[in-house]
Amino acid sequence: MTATSIAAPRSPRRMRSRTNTELYAWLFMRISGVLLLVLVFGHLFVNLMVGEGINALDFAFVAGKWASPFWQIWDLLMLWLAMIHGTNGLRTIINDYAERDMLRMWLKVGLYTATAITIVLGTLVIFTFDPCPAEAAAHLLPSFCPAP
């Protein structure tokens, strides 16, 4: 028989160090999931259904969208939420199925590196995108570009 871990009566109650990480991660999955439903289907609808639909999709279309702060923020939100949502999902899968500590650590290092690179690169592209590159043919460019 091992000693039971039942505290003596009226002993001061030991509270665990309160960390709500898993709670927030769980909550984030729910909220970002709902937001992503709106963002992703809104994105698909605007790109593929409205107007000429998929036929309108070219460099000029994307450049035109990213000239507006509304779509910049839309795409930025979609990028961040989808990346963090997916990363957290993979993190839980790694926690569930990678049993060796070292393997678990390296898988997570790889995962977080890939996520960080994608988020930084994506954010950079959204904000530093040049809709009117200098040497491009004029018919490929959005209409607001100054004539060369």
Binding site: T4, I6, R13, R16, T19, E22, W26, L27, D96, E99
Partner: protein
């Protein structure tokens, strides 16, 4: 006094006869003294329509091979000793009628998964019990004890009625894929045990229990796969209970 000599009761096979049939049991056996790996063993028996898987196991143990080892106490679905994996699903052997199983194939009987097998169908239940102990499965109160019983309205009792039915058979916990891959997870049963006290109006330890279940290996590891609800031989809505604990943690409202 009229005493009529009754005709001797005839042992006629037609009256009240129970249909009998052949059933093949495929057992996963492991003897730690001689085996390094578990092995499969098949027995074909003549059983009756009223027989359960437990009766078939008894027949093997009592008439064919006395070394077959399994747990059972009451044999009527109350003690929770004989949870095992029957045809890939966690059931109580004493509540599973043979006639309800597909008898054209062997009935596969294995020990429950996720706990170390000690012999044949017996697993080491200690990790399961220690998870249950860690959520403090007893009434926690403050102040002086009342001089009479602690009163509770039927509505307050109804709040946690479902989770009082638990018999600690481990069918839910050992059907959980998260528990299979991570023995640190409390498992559905411990959360059911905590739910029973968290939502009890007489209990004052809810905050502590919620804190324990808010742990890294607590309720947040639940993936809502409903395996536990499917497995529960008492029909407890286990996944619902887990979700109620999550909600209580989220809003700190019990």
């Amino acid at each position: 006094m009229t005493l009529t000599a009754e005709a001797p009761v005839q042992d006629s096979p037609a009256a009240g006869a129970i249909p009998s049939f052949q059933v093949t049991l495929k057992l996963r056996r492991f003897n730690p003294e001689s085996d390094t790996e578990p092995r499969w063993e098949e027995h074909t028996l003549t059983m009756h329509g009223t027989d359960r898987v437990l009766d078939a196991l008894h027949k093997i143990k009592w008439e064919i091979d006395g070394s077959l080892t399994f747990r059972r106490s009451c044999a009527h679905g109350i003690c929770g000793s004989d949870a095992m994996r029957i045809n890939g699903r966690n059931r109580l052997a004493c509540k599973t009628l043979l006639k309800d199983l597909p008898l054209d194939k062997p009935v596969v009987v294995e020990p429950i998964k996720g706990l170390a097998v000690m012999k044949d169908l017996i697993v080491d239940m200690e990790p399961f019990y220690s998870a249950y102990k860690s959520i403090m499965p007893f009434l926690v109160t403050t102040g002086n004890d009342p001089s009479r019983e602690r009163r509770q309205s039927p509505e307050e009792r109804e709040r946690f009625d479902d989770t009082t039915k638990c018999i600690l058979c481990a069918a839910c916990t050992t059907s959980c894929p998260v528990y299979w891959s991570d023995g640190q997870y409390f498992g559905p049963q411990a959360i059911v045990g905590a739910h029973r006290f968290i939502f009890d109006s007489r209990d004052e330890g809810a905050e502590q229990r919620l804190e324990i279940l808010n742990d890294r290996e607590g309720v947040w590891r639940c993936r809502t796969t409903f395996n536990c609800t499917d497995a529960c031989p008492r029909g407890i809505e286990v996944t619902k209970a887990i979700q109620e604990v999550k909600r209580a943690l989220l809003f700190r409202r019990v």
